[in-house]
Structure formats: C-alpha cells, structure tokens
C-alpha cells in the first residue's frame, strides 16, 4: 500500500500532501471520527434518504478520501446534500461519525474554495453572518437575502407562505439582538484565531 501510493505520487496521480488527507479530515472532525475504521460495507449509502441526489455515497466518498483524491472529494456535492439525519450514523457497524465528517468536509471545501454547489455555502455563510451580528437567528433577513440571490423564480410560489408566516406572527420583521454581543464577539474572535493556528 505505501509503495503503491508512492508510485502514484511519482506518476503525478497524487500529490505529497494528499497522502494524509484521511488523517487531516479525521483530525479536523469534532470528537473521534473513526473514519479510519470504515470497512466499505455500504450501509451508510443504503440508509441515506438523500443518496439519490448525491454525487457520491458516503461510502464512496470515504474511499476517495483514503485514496487521497482531495480535489474530487472537496468538489463533491455529498456533504452539502447531507441533511444530518444520522440514519447512517446509528447503523454504521464501525461507528464512524459520518455526519460530523460531512461538516468537516464542508468547512474544508469552503476554505479551499472548491465547493461546486454555490447555494448551500452561501446559505450557511449568510446564516452565520446573522448570528455573528445579532447573536440570534433572523429568518426573514436570511430568507430574503438567500432567495433573492439564488431562487428568485421560487419567490412567487413562496410569497403566500412568507405572507402567511408574517401575518400569523411567525416571522418577526426585525432581528432580536442579545445583550452581551461584545462578549460573544470576543469569544468568536478568539475561537477563529484558534481555528487558524491549530
């Protein structure tokens, strides 16, 4: 195996830094990912309600990780299609933290600017932007920003829903803000620094 990967590096099929992709993903995942333990049984893909829309099943994606296919992995839509339903997680015989690995891959794809699907990262980033500004979620701000940018054609179909939500008092027009925003900002600033330096 090591010899084979060496050969692949020499043949230009694999880069030096890809050798440790599996390890890198595992290290960046919260908790103990157990990614190395995957036995390629396919239970995850077979349990996944969203598999039909994924470029790769989780099983396939993990094989690609092991093969060091960094770019292909980070371009895959799979982590973005994952709905975090944890079906695969409770069924995986090796107890791989599959859903958490998907979160790691999303953050790596954003950082490497390799994500292929552009709406999901925008949604996550807009959401996080709201939280970092107000400390609380703001559905209306999020919805209008995200839909205007990516789903303008969906808006007419959604307008009655948005209107219903507003008239029934389920969608406040202004965000709520927490009191100690400076405290939260200080925490997040330190956290981001730690993220980059670790």
């Amino acid at each position: 195996m090591p010899q084979m990967t060496d050969e692949r590096v020499r043949a230009g099929l694999m880069r030096e830094e890809d050798l440790s992709l599996l390890h890198e993903v595992s290290m960046k995942t919260a908790g103990v990912s157990r990614l190395e333990m995957c036995i390629q049984c396919g239970t995850c893909g077979g349990s996944c309600p969203a598999a039909a829309d994924m470029d790769h099943t989780p099983r396939m994606l993990f094989a690609m990780l092991r093969a060091g296919m960094r770019e292909e992995v980070l371009r895959s839509n799979t982590p973005w299609i994952c709905v975090s339903c944890y079906h695969c997680v409770v069924r995986c015989p090796q107890e791989v933290h599959i859903a958490d690995v998907m979160y790691t891959l999303k953050s790596m794809a954003i950082r490497a600017k390799l994500y292929q699907d552009s709406t999901a990262p925008h949604f996550s980033q807009t959401f996080v932007g709201m939280v970092e500004t107000f400390g609380r979620g703001f559905e209306l701000g999020l919805a209008s920003r995200h839909y205007l940018r990516y789903f303008p054609l969906r808006l007419p179909g959604m307008a009655p829903m948005g209107f219903g939500m507003i008239t029934k008092g389920r969608m406040p027009l202004a965000p709520r803000k927490i009191k100690h925003m400076t405290q939260l900002k200080a925490i997040l600033k330190r956290a981001k620094h730690l993220e980059l330096t670790s």
Partner: protein, 333 residues
Amino acid sequence: MNKYLLYPGCSLESSAKAYAESLNAILEPLDIQLEEIEDWNCCGATEYLGINLIPAYSLIARNLALAVKQMDGAHTLVAPCSACYLNLAKADHYMQERPALGTKVNEALAAGGLEYKPGTLDVRHLLDVLIYDVGLDAIKKKVTRPLSGLKVAPYMGCMLPRPDYKHRWSDHEHPTELEDLLRVLGADVIDYPLTTSCCGGHMTQIGPETAFELICRLVAGADERGAHLMATVCPMCQLNLDAYQGEMNGYFGTDYHMPILFFTQLMGLAFGKDPDELGIGTELVSSRQALMHIGVEVPAAPEPTARRKKEEGLPMPSRLLRNGHKHEKEAVR
C-alpha cells in the same frame, strides 16, 4: 416543583411561537418550572458546524457556560428544539470525547470571561423530561378532554432519537415514546413507520427538490394511514412540513392538507386548554377540521391568502414577482 434550565432557541421566538405558548400553558398543570438562560445565543443550527469547528462549538458552549451560572441546584438543561438539543448535547459530548477540543473551546470562552466543564449539565429534550421525569401517569391524571377520535401520526424526526449519545430513547429508528404519550392523551395513534424519517432539514432552503421528496413521503405516509394530523417535537420539522407543504403540493401537483401540530399543543388540548392559549391557528395548514373530531371549535381565521395581492409577500423587488403564476394556485392552500 421541579426546576429546569431552559434553552428556548431562536425558533420559539419566531416560527415556532405556538410551541412556546403551548409549552407555557402546560407547565403549571405538570408542576414544572423552566428558567430561561439569560442572554442565550443561537446554537448555529446545522449551519455553523459546516463552516468552522472551534467557533461553532464555542458558540454553542457559551450557552452551556451561561446555564452553569444559573444552576443553583438544577442541572438539567432542557431544549424544546431537536436541532438545538443535539447541538448542545453534541458540544458537551465531544468536549469530553476529545479533550483537545474542550481545551480550545474553553480558551475561546475565556475571552468572554466564561468557562464550561463538560459533563456539568445534563442536556435533554423536552419530550424526554416530560416522559421520564414527569411521567406518563402524572400526565394522564391531568387529562380532562381526551383526544379520542383524533387520529394522530407521531412524528419524532431525526435529531432527537439519533445519534443519542446518552442512550435515552427506546430505539433509534422506531422509538415509542411519542406514541406512548399521545396514547395517554387519549389520541387514536396511527401506525407510522416513518416516525424518524427526515423532514429535509435545511434542504428546503438550499435544495428544495430534495426536501420536497422527503416532505411528500412523510405527509403522504400519514395521509395514507388515515391521520387527521401529525404531532411533531421540533420547530424545524414543523416549519418544513407545515410552511412548505403548499409549495411541495405545487411541485408534485398533489393536494395534501395535513396539519402539523406540536405535541405540547395536543397536551394543552387534552388538559382542557383553549386553542388560542396554545397557538392553534398559527399553523399554515389549518388544523380546524381535524380538531372538530374532538369537538374543539377553532374560530375560522380570516384566510390571509384569499385576497392576497402579489406584492404582499416578502419584501422584494416587484420584478421578481412577475412570472410565478404557475405555482401560485397550489401554494395558497
């Protein structure tokens, strides 16, 4: 009186205020006290975790740290939202499983003068506390208006029974807790094998086709089995199944009308409370007809969409509103 700390989560202030109202209405009969964490912040839902690891966990952990300050004998932190519950439980769990993460999160918290020692709090979902602390017997004693004749599909969703770090539920895929509770309320609980299937999570926002498939499967499954309504335990499930049901119908050309109520609303009804104390009527797919089966009269809400002008939707440039007549009819429902 049993005191618990409460992490309400953003939805309970907005899209799921019916959940908050109905929860408030049943606290007194059940003799529990919930003390809200002061100045709690958003848990990041399923979004922050996919961007940055340490900031995401620090965001969650700030709430845990604030809760500890208010413990004063109580050590259970209750979350009514399944997504918030999982995030809070996950942070507590992984900070223990991976001490390096715990150390870094605490370094970040220190910048705000806070700290959290993992394991200090017991993070639990509201349904768990009602079933395992209050107990089905005590709940049964408070029932004055049994829900007999009301056919209910018990919908637990994914993030409550899974991954279940602390092994609290009877099963990961077919847990019986919600149906046990509904039965105690007198409801006619239908057999609903989809009880822990996914509602689509954030896919309603980013990949609607995927979400519509999942929503349709759940709603059709309940409808085929004769349910009058579905009971949910999570604001995200409620929002997806209720608010997007019209758009889903438009997408598939179907005509489902499945009301989605929070289990606390059904508890309130069974305890004899008035529908308007329980936020009933704020659902977009009206439960009015369904509740007639238990003799509950919900005043007919003036149908807001009936005289709707197109411009009344989300604030948006009117140019975007032009070519959507196709979906409009279905989505009004």
